[in-house]
C-alpha cells in the first residue's frame, strides 16, 4: 500500500544516508528565538546545510501542551495562549525546513515524520565528529 508520506520518508532517508557518507555537511547555528512558536518553547540544536543550491535547516523544538480530554493524539494539539502549570505535558518535534540563502526567511517546512529524529541523530553525530573521536581514542595507546 502506497502511503503519501512515503516520498518524504524516501527524501529524509536519503539525507540521512548522504550525511552519514559525508556527501553533505552540516554546520551548527546558535538557537534563534524566531524559531519558537510560543514563548515557552525551547529550541535545541540548530543545523544548516546546502544541497544543490537549496538551503536546509534542521532543529529540535521542545514545547509544553495541555491535552484536551477525549483527543487521543496530543501531538497534534497545541492549545493557544499561556499554559497553566497543572496537567501540562512536554513534547518534542524535529523540524526540517527550506530557508533562504541568507537564512532569514522560512520558505517551506517538511511534514512531520519519524525519520526526522534519525536525521537529527546523524547530523549531531557528524557535527560532533564522533566517528573520528572513537577511531582516535580506540587507537590511542597512551
Amino acid at each position: 500500500m502506497t502511503n503519501k508520506k512515503d516520498k518524504w520518508i524516501d527524501a529524509v532517508a536519503k539525507l540521512i544516508q548522504m550525511t552519514q557518507e559525508g556527501r553533505i555537511n552540516w554546520i551548527s547555528r546558535i538557537p534563534d528565538n524566531s524559531l519558537k512558536k510560543r514563548a515557552s518553547d525551547q529550541i535545541g540544536s540548530v543545523f544548516v546545510t546546502s544541497y544543490k543550491e537549496k538551503r536546509l535547516r534542521l532543529y529540535e523544538r521542545k514545547f509544553k501542551y495541555r491535552p484536551i480530554p477525549g483527543v487521543v493524539s496530543p501531538s497534534s494539539v497545541l492549545l493557544p495562549g499561556p499554559f497553566d502549570s497543572d496537567g501540562e505535558i512536554s513534547g518534542t518535534e524535529v523540524v526540517l525546513e527550506f530557508i533562504s540563502d541568507d537564512e532569514l526567511t522560512l520558505l517551506w517546512t517538511f511534514p512531520p515524520i519519524n525519520t526526522l529524529t534519525d536525521l537529527l541523530t546523524s547530523v549531531r553525530y557528524q557535527v560532533a565528529g564522533v566517528k573520528d573521536f572513537l577511531d582516535e581514542i580506540l587507537s590511542d595507546d597512551s
Partner: protein, 134 residues
C-alpha cells in the same frame, strides 16, 4: 420447508453473524492492545539501525542483532494485523532474511531501514484511524 427449517436456517445465519462480530471485536482489541507497543519497539529498532549506519564498520556487530529483533517484532505484528499491512510486513521480512550478514551490504540495509520506517508510519496511520471506530 417448514417453520422449523426456517428457524434452523435463521439460527445458523445468526451464529455466523455473531462469530464474525466477535472476531472483529477480538481483532480490534488485539490491534489496540498489543500493536502500539510492538510498533514503538519497531520504531526503536529502525532508529537503532539508522544509528548503526553512522559508523557502518564500527557497528557491524550490532546490525545483525537489530535485524534479529526486527524480525521477531514483525512476525508478532503480522499475526495481529489485517491483510492491508501484512503484505508490506511480508516483503520486509523477506528483505531482512535475504540480508547477507557476512557481506553486510550498506545499500540493502538502507532499503530495509526505509521500508521499516514506512511500515511504522503505515500502521501508526491505521492506529489513528481505528480510534474513530469505537
Amino acid at each position: 420447508m417448514t417453520f422449523s427449517d426456517f428457524g434452523s436456517i435463521a439460527s445458523i445465519i445468526s451464529l455466523i453473524l455473531i462469530l464474525t462480530i466477535i472476531r472483529k471485536i477480538k481483532a480490534y482489541y488485539l490491534f489496540t492492545g498489543r500493536v502500539p507497543d510492538l510498533i514503538n519497539k519497531l520504531d526503536e529498532v529502525s532508529s537503532s539501525i539508522s544509528n548503526d549506519m553512522n559508523d557502518f564498520e564500527g557497528f557491524s556487530q550490532q546490525i545483525p542483532l537489530d535485524l534479529g529483533t526486527a524480525e521477531v517484532v514483525l512476525k508478532s505484528l503480522k499475526k495481529k494485523l489485517g491483510s492491508h499491512s501484512k503484505k508490506s510486513i511480508k516483503e520486509l521480512l523477506k528483505a531482512i532474511k535475504g540480508y547477507d550478514r557476512d557481506k553486510q551490504d550498506k545499500d540493502s540495509l538502507y532499503k530495509i531501514y526505509v521500508d521499516m520506517t514506512k511500515v511504522v508510519e503505515e500502521i501508526k496511520g491505521f492506529q489513528e484511524d481505528s480510534k474513530w471506530e469505537r
